[in-house]
């Protein structure tokens, strides 16, 4: 018999590998291991997600963009430069690959750039966007380790020594990070692993992918780096190169005391931190508690379709955010802006907490279809404040007899899953329907029915939106008398013709009276005799005669008859 064996990959490791792995893990437990991820083109790439989205919408909306902002969806193949202002001059900060091929390099003046590459598209450097993206990346990296530090402007530091055991060794973990980074983000990046954060950063930022596990191997690993990477001013760098120091390996040869005296004591400290001689604490990154993201567009949009494209993008980001925290939300806000003017704040309420992007968008669509925007939209913001732990509804499901059979193995296992899924689905479904109705018709339009313990017919029921779980409703134990299924909102006075009750035809009383006399304590007291009647068209009526004083019924007169309900 050919039985498929399904063993964990770890178990397939040979004993040699196992020994090595455990050694590696043991070592890492004693010594921290820092992974630095360096994003050389973060300033450009942080912009490009928004650029691509805008281009998408512009294309589908057929908006003619001005020459500066006209972009095709494919930004990668365009010469783009991000520029910043340094001492009043516009200098290149980051360039795309295509621009680099034309000879445009960072620190170049803008004039020279256009001489080299006339079609160059330029964007202003925005530190805030870059920082936001770095925080997003840090939040993404939280799946691998809990100790993450931002190393602005464009690097992350991850302590991965503690994660090796969980992920099955350094190589597996690095491959995983590499893979996930390449799949989820369009970033150019370099990874380096060393026992100190600073050495990792130095190696990664100079474009080297190196793994150094031992502290005493750091000197040789860092030795090949040029002294340019050190945080020194130009004068000091020149001084060093004058005495023949070009690489860090040259620095290692100099005596420490002389280095500290002739150059900067800070430099020695810096090198000590890189080599692990000095402690190098970093602030641990803490992911934001609330979700707030916005997308700004370089043009104005009027149509709901395009607002929805952006909203969907935001909703997906929110879902990713929630997934990482194993959380869900019950409320969120979509805010629409025209430049800085708030146009509309749409609150989305869910009956059951969720993290389903499509559901969110469905509800948002209903809300959006109801409002009229006074001006075009240029920015859409999504905020979610009360993050709730994610819970499935499976705990509430009763196990039926047929499911017991399934669980006992009388049927195949798949159907257990399917039937349970279906039950959860049906519970979610009604909530979904009600949310849809509420979003379109308004909260007030969806009502539930309740019974109350009161003898007065109009006080014995309640129609409202109150959540059943918050209020307890009771009912009179026994209603022996017949009650109608339809109740009139207000009792309708019945006229009389030729001494006969008349409601859309002559009425014949068939049953009654039933005396109801209550409520004297509340000011809304009633004293009525209820009758059941039928008119000539066949409508069965619930009538009463008001017996309170001052209504002229003392002498058995024909006044004071009302219709209160219909037996449907």
């Amino acid at each position: 018999m050919n039985k498929p064996t399904n063993v964990l990959p770890v178990a397939q490791l040979s004993s040699d590998n196992m020994a090595q792995l455990s050694l590696e893990i043991k070592h890492a437990q004693q010594h921290a291991l820092w992974l630095s991820i360096y994003f050389p083109k973060l300033a450009l790439e942080a912009l490009s997600a928004d650029i691509a989205l805008s281009a998408d919408i512009a294309l589908s909306a057929d908006i003619a963009l001005s020459a500066d902002t006209a972009l095709s969806a494919n930004t990668a193949n365009q010469p783009i430069a991000v520029i910043e202002q340094i001492k009043g001059q516009r200098v290149v900060h980051t360039v795309s690959d295509t621009a680099e091929a034309c000879g445009v390099t960072p620190t170049m003046l803008l004039g020279s750039c256009f001489a080299l590459c006339p079609h160059l598209k330029i964007f202003e450097y925005d530190e805030k966007i870059q920082q936001t993206r770095l925080i997003q990346l840090a939040a993404w990296a939280e799946q691998f380790t809990s100790r993450i530090s931002l190393y602005p402007p464009r690097a992350l530091l991850l302590e991965i020594g503690g994660s090796l055991k969980l992920f099955g060794g350094l190589e597996t973990l690095l491959a995983l990070i590499n893979d996930s980074l390449a799949r989820q983000w369009q970033h150019v990046f370099t990874l380096s692993v060393t026992p100190t954060p600073l050495a990792s950063f130095l190696l990664a930022s100079s474009g080297q992918t190196v793994v150094v596990k031992q502290k005493n191997a750091l000197r040789s690993a860092l030795g090949k780096l040029p002294i340019n990477i050190l945080p020194l001013n130009e004068k000091r760098k020149k001084q060093l190169s004058n005495i023949g120091v070009r690489m860090l390996s040259d620095v290692w040869r100099l005596p420490r005391e002389d280095l500290a005296r002739r150059f900067d004591p800070q430099l020695v400290n810096y090198l000590d931190r890189a080599l692990g001689g000095l402690a190098d604490p970093h602030k641990i990154f803490q992911s934001p508690e609330n979700f707030e993201e916005s997308i700004e567009l370089p043009f104005e949009i009027l149509y709901n379709t395009f607002i929805l494209i952006i909203a969907r993008q935001l909703a997906r980001k929110l879902v990713t955010f929630l997934r990482q925290r194993d959380a869900c939300i019950a409320t969120c806000f979509f805010t629409l802006y025209n430049n800085n003017d708030l146009l509309e704040c749409i609150k989305i309420n869910m009956r059951l907490p969720t993290r389903d992007a499509e559901h969110l968008i469905e509800l948002f669509t209903e809300h959006l279809s109801k409002i009229k925007l006074s001006a075009p939209v240029t920015r859409v913001k999504l905020t979610a404040k009360h993050i709730l732990p994610f819970a499935t509804n499976s705990a509430e499901l009763p196990i039926t007899e047929s499911e017991h059979l399934v669980l006992n193995g009388n049927l195949n296992g798949n159907s257990t899953y399917a039937s349970k899924e279906h039950l959860t689905e049906s519970k979610d479904n009604i909530a979904r329907l009600l949310e849809q109705l509420q979003a379109r018709l308004g909260r007030q339009a969806i009502t539930e029915l309740y019974t109350l313990a009161d003898h007065r017919p109009e006080y014995a029921h309640y129609v409202g939106q109150n959540n059943r779980s918050f209020m307890s409703f009771t009912q009179l134990t026994q209603i022996t008398q017949q009650r109608p299924l339809w109740l009139l909102p207000d009792p309708e006075l019945i006229i009389q013709k030729n001494g006969k009750l008349w409601w859309r035809g002559p009425v014949v009383v068939t049953a009654g009276p039933e005396r109801i006399e209550a409520g004297w304590w509340s000011g809304n007291d009633i004293r009525r005799d209820y009758y059941i009647g039928i008119n000539h068209r066949g409508s069965r009526l619930w009538l009463y005669r008001d017996l309170r004083e001052g209504l002229g019924n003392d002498s058995g007169s024909d006044k004071g008859w009302y219709l209160h309900g219909l037996f449907a």
Partner: protein, 205 residues
């Protein structure tokens, strides 16, 4: 007739033979709770996933009695009931004493516009958690009824449309006319899949 052929003919819901109603009484419908009514309906009860149109000349002649047993059954199966734009207030104590679990009954307010009410009914018909969706709507065109009928076919919900006026050639699968009687109500099938004759049943209220 060949036995296999007979099975094929009997089990094909799209095929109907005039005048041979009994062979079509497949029993695939949901029982209405009234044996007399089940007998005159083509599937032996309310059709599953279809729209039923009930024409009642005025309210209060026992039209809801027609649906009470089905509503009780639906709530017992943990399904929901949606009432859209009822003409009067559904009186909770009466529903409770009839045996309906009102915690599973949702009422869409009567002052909803016709368009919104239709939209609500369509959404409800597409939602499997909803067992019965009842709407009180007059003045809707056959095109709209056809759309509702299509929505009903995709879901598992029984859709009931109460109307006071009869419209010719309505696309609803089952159309019933109610006539008040002194001790109950008479139900006449104006249209039912699989039969071309009008049948009537008497329900005592």
């Amino acid at each position: 007739m060949n036995e296999q052929l007979r099975i094929l003919l009997n089990n094909n819901p799209n095929l109907w033979r005039a005048g041979d109603r009994s062979s079509h009484n497949t029993g695939s419908g949901i029982s209405t709770g009234y044996a007399d009514l089940d007998a005159i309906l083509p599937d032996g009860g309310w059709p599953t996933n279809a729209l039923v149109e009930v024409i009642t000349p005025q309210w209060g002649i026992g039209e809801l009695q027609l649906l009470l047993p089905s509503m009780i059954a639906a709530t017992q199966q943990n399904r929901w009931i949606l009432w859209i734009a009822p003409p009067y207030i559904p009186y909770a104590p009466a529903l409770v004493s009839a045996g309906v679990d009102i915690s599973r009954l949702i009422v869409v307010r009567p002052d909803t516009t016709c368009k919104d009410a239709l939209w609500s009914l369509e959404k409800a018909l597409q939602n499997d958690a909803c067992g019965i969706a009842i709407a009180w709507l007059d003045w809707i065109s056959n095109g709209v009824v056809r759309r509702l009928q299509l929505a009903a076919q995709t879901g598992k919900t029984l859709g009931v449309l109460f109307r006071q006026r009869e419209i010719k050639d309505s696309p609803a699968v089952v159309r019933l006319q109610l006539k008040p009687e002194f001790d109950g109500v008479q139900v006449i099938t104006l249209k039912a899949r699989g039969t071309c004759r009008h049948h009537s049943a008497h329900l005592s209220v």
